[in-house]
Amino acid sequence: MILIVAEHSGGSLAKSTLEMVTAARASGREGPVTLLVLGQGIGAVAKEAAAVADQVLVADLPALATYNAELWAAAAAQIAQEGEANTVIIGGSRSGREFAPRVAVKLGAPYLEDAISLSSEGAALRAQRYTYLARVTETVEAEGPVVVVSVKPGSFQAAAPAAQAGEEYDVELELPAPRVEITGRSVEKSSRVALTEADVIVTGGRGVGSPENFAAYVEGFADAIGAGVGATRAVVDAGWRPYAEQVGQTGKTVQPGAYIALGVSGAVQHLSGMGKSKNIIAINKDAEAPIFKVADYGIVGDLNQIVPALIEAAKK
């Protein structure tokens, strides 16, 4: 079987899980596409999962109420062994890329990390992935009784519900005692669409000028067109915006349909987080800014005049 560890939050399945189902079906690996749903009070998530997968394994346990790398790794490895999975697919989120290597070590399996494509070449599973701050696309492959893969969000189409819902099964797990104690949690909630799920993102850089301008221009324009809000590292370091909005090597990686960069110069570390966007739009007063080299559309000009005009025109 192909085992996928489902990603979900707030009682519903994440888009990344639907993308992993597509990745599983594209991989050429044999067996039923199986979603493993870990958590507590996840009946609704399991139902959603059943609509897209051949079968769903559900571990609804208090111990799994919040994500924990060691527990998730133990659960995935145990089910992979019991179900004789040939492939284990895990999300390329921060948490997924944290526990996937542990699953690989537990299973003695090779690990293909952050795959953007999957195919079978004979007995080997082949993947493409980005390296060198997303400037190079490498093709790698591995074989073995089981291969662990993490899948980069946004790289596959979301799977549509199948004609027939998969069966749901409850599974029993032997979980270790968690060794990391979480003493506090700060969730950076936004009323806007999540960055990694947004189809349009408006991002502000230092060129925006001030936190007030950021609110007026970046948030103002994002709200006018229903987009998510991103920020560069410089803006986050300056304390204008929360880290959750940061796009780039040390922040989030995004590849929306349109990435609109306001006052962003385009450092390599930032490009590595957004350079795969389908359309890049840059507005900057510096005609020499590197961002223009990767832009589909660019305006060289004063944000203070152009963005208010954009907001007004977008509202019409």
Binding site: E98, D114, V140, Y297, A309, E312
Partner: protein, 253 residues
């Protein structure tokens, strides 16, 4: 406690990357110590300076000769000694973690610090894989760290925000921006570092093989339209851009 801090020498972010045959060729490319690893070296030094019981700080590099420079940088920053397993073999993070774990055990390390994502492989796997090999907990994407006795506490980033944590040593911590500001080695320290031990270990003493094969590498650049709009008339520019986004790129309704 002994701290093992992992370092790598990687292309400078602004350096041009070229492909030769099927792999990236770094000949003539400017290389620097990986910035994320540098946070780890700095944090080890700060833990000691802050009063934690740190017996020794050891920097470890596994890879080609160029990594010597990363080790020299770490020594000049203040680590006590360095180990270089010099090899031109290509390892994936999971196979590499077996070597790191072996060194950690041989040296009796109680804390391993490693960058959250390597700037050459774009991988986040080394810390977690090493932790699993050793049977240790891991804290990834850490931006605040404290060690008191054998208790580790701090804060790290998670999918939707951040968490404060507490765990017992031994542990693996992956580092990132925000944790600290790495110091620049001073000239006296650079001179002193020349006398510090940089041990070369034979890769044959660390039996590990990559389970992931490289098939090829290419630099793919998406063809961009590069349609520039004159911003002198803001209203006209705004109208033209929105029109293009709606009707040409079809990304806005």
């Amino acid at each position: 406690m002994k701290i093992l801090t992992l370092v790598r020498q990687v292309p400078d972010a602004e350096a041009r990357i070229k492909i030769q045959g099927q792999t990236v060729d770094l000949d003539g490319t400017t290389v620097v110590i990986d910035g994320m690893d540098e946070y780890g070296v700095e944090e080890a030094l700060r833990l000691r300076e802050g009063g934690a019981q740190v017996e020794e700080i050891i920097a470890l590099a596994i890879g080609p000769k160029r990594n010597e420079d990363a080790l020299r940088t770490a020594l000049a920053m203040g680590v006590d000694r360095a180990i270089h397993i010099e090899t031109d073999a290509r390892y994936d993070a999971v196979s590499l973690s077996a070597m790191v774990a072996q060194v950690a055990q041989q040296e009796g390390a109680g804390l391993i610090l490693v960058g959250g994502q390597e700037a050459d492989w774009d991988s986040q796997a080394l810390g977690a894989a090493t932790a699993e090999r050793l049977g240790w907990p891991q804290l990834t994407w850490t931006n605040e760290l404290k060690v008191e006795g054998d208790t580790l506490s701090g804060r790290h980033d998670v999918d939707d925000g951040n968490e404060s944590f507490r765990a017992s040593l031994p542990a693996v911590v992956t580092t990132q921006q925000g944790l600290n500001e790495p110091r620049y080695p001073t000239l006296p320290n650079i001179m002193k570092a020349k006398k510090k031990e940089l041990r070369k270990d034979d890769p044959a003493s660390y039996p590990s093989q990559s389970a992931v094969r490289l098939v090829g590498a290419e630099i793919q650049t998406r063809a961009r339209r590069n349609h520039m709009i004159d911003g002198k008339d803001p209203q006209a520019a705004a109208a033209e851009l929105l029109n293009l986004l709606r009707n040409e790129a079809k990304v806005l309704a």
